[in-house]
């Protein structure tokens, strides 16, 4: 008599690899052959995973159409068995899968569309964190400002798009025909974030994007101002930095966890 472990190994093999050895352990029913019945589980496996991907990538699905999206899903599923107990995370690797695939990255807007949808999904149910308020800032003595390190909330993602994929997404989501794909001379800087419980995104100027990225990397505010002066000119560099920060705090993009660096520039 086979052990429970042997039965489960055999059954999983049938589902993942189509190896039907387990059929010797499965009787026919009065009305149906055992291989037809085992086939219900084999069919359901990919059908269910495809459904997860459809939920996570509705605009990519719309853009590719049923047939191509199905092909993409099956290619992903063949390479990516699920290691998560939660269906919500199964599709997380789809953008990487596409970026690494010669077929699916040939049209650059495809992995970019996947990456955009993935980012919208991730910020949608990212952690709720206590936010920094403008009032909190007023409490901080001016001499401490240069050493403050601000942190973006987890419900944000930064993207750089080399195609007009955001226009494509905007058309798809309103059921309009997507525009022709265009390569961009300068990558579009995008911030994906959560606004009033819904995922959203907007473009950023190069300067704002660079300041955001440096801030997210832990660079203190004083150094951010100096970098702004280098990038965009000395004039009112600190004011530009302050105005970006003000905007981010007002939009609820910065946590209340402010760090202080105690080594200011020039100190030993």
């Amino acid at each position: 008599m086979p052990t429970l472990e042997e039965i489960q190994n055999g059954f999983q093999k049938a589902i993942l690899e189509g190896d039907k050895s387990i059929l010797t352990q499965i009787p026919d029913t009065p009305k149906e052959k055992n291989d037809v019945l085992l086939g219900i589980y084999q069919y359901a496996y990919s059908a269910r995973l495809i459904e997860f991907l459809e939920n996570d990538y509705p605009q990519l699905h719309a853009y590719l159409g049923d047939e191509q999206f199905d092909q993409l899903c099956r290619a992903y599923i063949a390479e990516t068995p699920s290691h998560t107990p939660n269906a919500r995370w199964y599709g997380n690797e789809l953008p990487i899968f596409m970026e690494n695939s010669s077929i699916w990255s040939e049209q650059l807007q495809l992995p970019e569309l996947a990456r955009l949808e993935y980012s919208l999904n991730i910020v949608f149910d990212a952690s709720d964190e206590p936010l920094l308020r403008l009032d909190d800032l007023a409490q901080i003595p001016p001499e401490q400002w240069p050493s403050l390190v601000f942190s973006p909330v987890q419900a944000t993602r930064r993207l750089e798009m080399e195609t007009n994929v955001t226009d494509i997404w905007n058309a798809l989501v309103t059921d309009q025909a997507p525009p022709d794909v265009q390569g961009l001379a300068d990558p579009l800087q995008v911030l994906v974030y959560r606004d009033d419980q819904q995922s959203s995104f907007r473009s950023m100027s190069y300067e704002e994007a660079m300041m955001w990225d440096k801030m997210a990397a832990g660079v203190p505010f004083g150094v951010l101002c100096e970098l702004m002066a280098t990038w965009g000119g000395e004039d009112d560099a600190a004011m530009r930095a302050g105005s970006f920060l003000h905007g981010w705090i007002s939009a609820g993009l910065i946590t209340d966890q402010i760090d202080m660096t105690n080594t200011s520039r020039g100190a030993p």
């Binding site: 008599m1 086979p2 052990t3 429970l4 472990e5 039965i7 489960q8 190994n9 059954f11 999983q12 589902i15 993942l16 352990q25 499965i26 009787p27 029913t29 009065p30 009305k31 149906e32 055992n34 037809v36 019945l37 085992l38 219900i40 589980y41 359901a44 496996y45 269910r48 995973l49 997860f52 068995p81 699920s82 290691h83 998560t84 107990p85 939660n86 269906a87 919500r88 199964y90 949608f124 149910d125 990212a126 952690s127 709720d128 964190e129 987890q154 419900a155 959560r194 419980q197 819904q198």
Partner: protein, 290 residues
């Protein structure tokens, strides 16, 4: 651990919580006594789904229903999963937590399906031990649900209802009796569903599931995408007669209709209960008094 006399009181007629219905529910639509939530859907870091769940659990009794416990798997229990489940339960404070008598994968892989178990003594011993560990870890009894099965195993040494009964008694857990799954499995394996119902101990069942299925002629598939079939309503009536008032939940996972259609189906269940003179409310009141 609780004693059997502390079996939770019946909650009436509830619905599986599904996002398309959030607006109507938050508007206070009437006709739903309680909600069952899929635990995994809320085992997420934060955001709107958890906020909505917080609001709903303020207004309604809620139970948690999981799909990935994989209690029958020969792979080790996933302690990260259990930690997340416990964390959610701390937030939701569900009336009870359920999952399925099934396995979902081995070797670290999740097949995301409710896979069938051979009804052997070996499997029973294995699952009893795991239920024990899970209940200890969660600090409460869990309820396990009979699944729809399309295959059986030659090695089975007992019937499904004998297996469920022995499991509930030995592991001291609750049962969630899915009446549609009884119907589906009975059809597929060629036995009388009434024998199954009669074989389940009444003092262990805390919840019923009702759902629609798809009849493929030689076999039935548990699809949750149709209204409940009349044969399954008949079996529900038979089940109610045996068990009395038990929290009844309607599941719909695909082709999700307007919530009013589902409330109309709940009213069908209510009508059957009242035709049989089974009063859920006085049963609940009596439990509260005792």
């Amino acid at each position: 651990m609780t004693t059997l006399s502390q079996k939770p009181q019946p909650l009436g007629f509830g619905l599986g919580l599904r996002p398309p219905h959030y607006p109507d529910i938050l508007d206070g639509i009437e006709g739903i006594d309680w909600f069952e939530v899929i635990s995994e859907n809320y085992m997420i870091p934060g955001g709107q789904p958890l906020r909505i769940l917080d609001e709903i659990r303020e207004r309604y009794p809620v139970v948690q229903h999981g799909v990935s416990l994989s209690i029958a798997s020969t792979a080790p229990l996933n302690m990260d999963y259990l930690a997340d489940l416990k964390k959610l339960a701390k937030r939701v404070k569900p009336r009870w937590i359920s999952d399925h008598l099934c396995w979902t994968g081995v070797h670290g892989i999740n097949l995301h399906d409710l896979l069938p178990v051979p009804y052997t003594v070996e499997a029973l011993d294995h699952i009893v031990e795991r239920v024990d560990k899970v209940q200890d870890y969660l600090g409460q009894r869990i309820a396990l649900e009979n699944v729809s099965t399309y295959v059986s195993f030659k090695s089975s040494e007992m019937t499904e209802w004998e297996f469920l009964t022995a499991l509930a008694q030995r592991a001291d857990c609750w049962l969630l009796l899915d009446v549609n799954n009884v119907f589906v499995s009975a059809f597929n394996h060629g036995y009388d569903p009434h024998t199954f119902i009669d074989g389940i101990p009444t003092d262990r069942v805390v919840q019923f599931h009702m759902a629609g299925h798809q009849d493929n002629g030689t076999h039935i598939v548990d699809t949750h995408d149709h209204p409940v079939r009349s044969e399954v309503w008949d079996l529900y009536a038979y089940t109610l007669k045996r068990f009395g008032a038990v929290s009844t939940l309607l599941e719909r996972d695909d082709n999700i209709p307007d919530i009013r259609e589902l409330i109309a189906e709940l009213d069908q269940a209510r009508a059957i209960a009242s035709r049989l003179n089974i009063d859920f409310h006085s049963a609940a009141d009596m439990e509260q008094i005792s």
